[in-house]
């Protein structure tokens, strides 16, 4: 074991990787925060992220434009969010089972479409990724500049989005309406708020952001697509939403924490620790369970969490 490899550049590299790896999970978690604040649990996140990864990759591959990939992912995510809306809001079926269905559908459909578009190849198709975009001046700050301001554009946009989400959710009429629909749909209804419409909007936002989070993997992190490439990130994002108690800003810290465990596992592998890599790969999943256990007891779920709303007398 080479402990002398743990130097400042090693730690800075690890922290920068944490930010990079946190971003896709953060995007999905931000979106799910809106969905759940509206009172809907979307367990289809994993499937939506996979479909986002696929459509992002295909969009970028076909047009040669990465933003077209982002747009394609967003549209796919919105459609899948609305599909979840049909089940949870309109048909009022069990949201856990509907979410599972969406996840299984998304994972199968992304695999199938990839095979239909690209066939079986020995060398996987690749795309150019969003390049590193150092922020002038800020990127020259020692350590912090390296960690925060030498990232790709999607990372910056996601961090800005955290602030926007925080304001929209807690300082706007829309945010108030969304939260009231998630807490007391009956009260919101009597005040003339369209419960179903607000919940659809929550799922719309959630689907769009989760899909872009999925698309981040091929577009900004790996440059290729492979089946099941999200590897549970959708479920981890849901854990982060609970962990952050439905607050975007706390979600940022949660996502960074998970990004750090994902990156730690990669960094530790370079250290050639006498620990098998398979055991290091378990780390983020174990951490998710532990974190969930610590927070779940005192988590205050939205009042009407995962409960369909039917006006009394209907």
């Amino acid at each position: 074991m080479n402990l002398e490899l743990i130097t400042l550049p090693f730690i800075v590299g690890w922290m920068a990787a944490s930010v990079r790896l946190a971003t896709p999970i953060l995007l999905a978690a931000l979106g799910e925060t809106f969905t759940e604040r509206g009172g809907v649990l979307n367990l289809g996140l994993e499937g939506i992220m996979l479909m986002g990864a696929l459509s992002g990759f295909v969009g970028a591959y076909a047009t040669g434009n990465l933003w077209a990939g982002v747009l394609a992912a967003m549209i796919t995510g919105i459609l899948m969010g609305l599909l979840m809306g049909f089940f949870s809001v309109t048909a009022k079926v069990n949201q856990v089972v509907a979410g599972l269905g969406i996840t299984i559908l998304g994972s199968g459909l992304s695999t199938l479409l990839f095979r239909l578009f690209f066939g079986l190849r020995t060398i996987p198709p690749t795309i150019d990724m969003f390049p590193e975009l150092p922020v002038p001046l800020l990127s020259r700050i020692p350590i912090l500049g390296e960690v925060l301001f030498k990232q790709n554009i999607l990372v910056y946009l996601t961090f800005i989005l955290v602030a926007v989400a925080q304001v929209v959710l807690f300082r706007s009429r829309f945010g108030l309406a969304l939260r009231s629909v998630g807490e007391r749909p009956d009260a919101a209804d009597t005040r003339g708020i369209d419960v179903a419409r607000m919940r659809y909007i929550g799922l719309f936002i959630g689907g769009a952001l989760a899909a872009v989070g999925g698309a981040y993997l091929p577009l900004a992190n790996l440059g290729i697509f492979w089946t099941q490439m999200t590897a549970g990130r959708g479920f981890i994002a849901i854990a982060i939403v609970i962990f952050s108690r439905w607050n975007p800003l706390r979600g940022l810290w949660g996502a960074l924490f998970f990004g750090a465990t994902l990156a730690l596992q990669l960094s530790l592998q370079t250290l050639r620790l006498p620990v098998p890599s398979e055991l290091l790969l378990m780390l983020p999943y174990i951490v998710t369970i532990i974190a969930l256990v610590i927070v779940s007891r005192r988590a205050e779920f939205p009042g009407a969490f995962a409960t369909p709303y039917t006006r009394s007398g209907e």
Binding site: L43, E46, G47, L83, F86, F87, T90, A91, K92, V93, N94, V96, V97, A98, G99, L100, G101, I102, T103, I104, L105, G106, S107, G108, L109, T111, L112, R115, L116, T227, A231, G232, F235, I236, I238, A239, I242, P276, E278, L279, L281, M282, Y285, I286, T288, I289, L292, V293, S296, R297, A299
Partner: protein
């Protein structure tokens, strides 16, 4: 949810009308899912008739193919029963994949470690190992749900990934076959432990009968006090508490039982089919087992039919990929569509009735 909101009563009246309605609606859902699959192929410029003909031949074309369909149905049936027990208690255990893996690891380990024990003792021990392996894995999620309110969908899905890496670790490390040229697999189990074949020349073996026995036992289980209590807890925690049930304990117990059954599926795959631990032991069958359970309305006999249907789809899907060049993932898409259509149908039929 329609599938779990059956009336709680000790002596269910057989309601033929309701059964017919369920069968008819499930059949329509499946048909619609197959049509969606065909449409996807058409859009891609492939001939869906060829694809489905190849699928049909692959599943039922010969005694051999038919036996292979039953081979595939075996773990699906076991997993579906495992899933149905927790789902009927409103515990959303999606960790079958991890529980199968643990059942496979522990039962193989028992077979390889205690190989000097007499067969009459060793074979039941391996079975017990599979059962306990699966149970221990689901109990983690069960206890965390019961006593720390940790959402079981997340814990069980995380435990799936942990189990996948654990399996990769043991077949690359401590359990790797020393004479296996570094292939990621364990040594073979002793010949005497291999489950006897039911039809010579095919892979159909005793574990299929074990699955059928499980179905029968589950039919009985739902009529026992414990089965009834399971459904009451699923119905309402409040009611369960009012009649004096220990809800947390029940949750842990039900989750444990559910995992034990999935562990047995892992045992069956090792001792009936692969004879050694390999990385692909549970690939894909975990989520498919959930779909089988839901299509079967969480009812043992319903699941018997739907396990058979999906097994045919899987066996046929493999043949379809080989012979017609249509990706197997089509079967995965059909799975997702089946769940969603099953869910949607109560909505559509309610609309139609108005």
């Amino acid at each position: 949810m329609t599938a779990t909101s059956q009336e709680v009563s000790t002596r269910p009246q057989i309601n033929w009308k309701a059964i017919w309605r369920n069968v008819y609606q499930a059949g329509l859902s499946v048909l619609a899912a197959l049509l969606i699959g065909a449409l996807l192929l058409l859009l891609n410029g492939r001939n869906p008739v060829d694809a489905f003909a190849s699928l049909w031949a692959g599943a039922f074309g010969s005694v051999d193919r038919f036996a292979e369909t039953l081979v595939k149905a075996t773990p699906l049936l076991m997993i579906a029963i495992s899933v149905s027990i927790s789902f009927r208690c409103q515990i959303w255990n999606i960790g079958a994949e991890g529980q199968i893996i643990l059942g496979a690891i522990v039962s193989t380990w028992v077979a390889l470690t205690f190989k000097n024990l007499p067969l009459v003792l060793l074979l039941p021990l391996t079975f017990l190992g599979g059962l306990l392996g699966g149970m221990s894995w689901s109990l983690i999620a069960g206890l965390l749900k019961a006593y720390a309110q940790a959402n079981e969908v997340i814990t069980t899905s995380m435990l799936n990934y942990i189990a996948i890496y654990l399996l990769a670790y043991v077949v690359h490390g401590p359990m790797m076959d020393p004479q296996g040229f570094n292939f990621p697999q364990s040594p073979l189990i002793a010949d005497a432990l291999i489950l006897p074949r039911l039809i010579p020349g095919t892979r159909l073996n005793i574990s299929f009968l074990v699955a059928l026995i499980m179905v029968a036992l589950t039919v009985v289980f739902w009529r026992t006090t414990l089965g009834l209590r399971t459904e009451i807890v699923g119905h309402s925690h409040r009611v369960a508490k009012q009649i004096g049930l220990k809800v947390a304990l029940m949750i842990a117990l039900v989750t444990g039982m559910s995992g034990a059954l999935a562990g047995i599926a892992g045992w069956g795959e090792i001792f009936g089919l692969h004879y050694r631990l390999i990385e692909e032991i549970a690939r894909g069958i975990g989520s498919l087992g959930i779909v089988v359970a839901l299509l079967g309305e969480l009812h043992p006999l319903g699941m018997l039919v739907s396990a058979f249907f999906f097994a045919a789809l899987v066996t046929g899907g493999n043949a379809m990929e080989r012979n017609a060049g249509v990706p197997f993932a089509l079967v995965d898409v059909i799975q997702g569509c089946v769940i969603l259509l099953i869910l949607a149908r109560s909505y559509f039929f309610r609309k139609a009735a108005k």
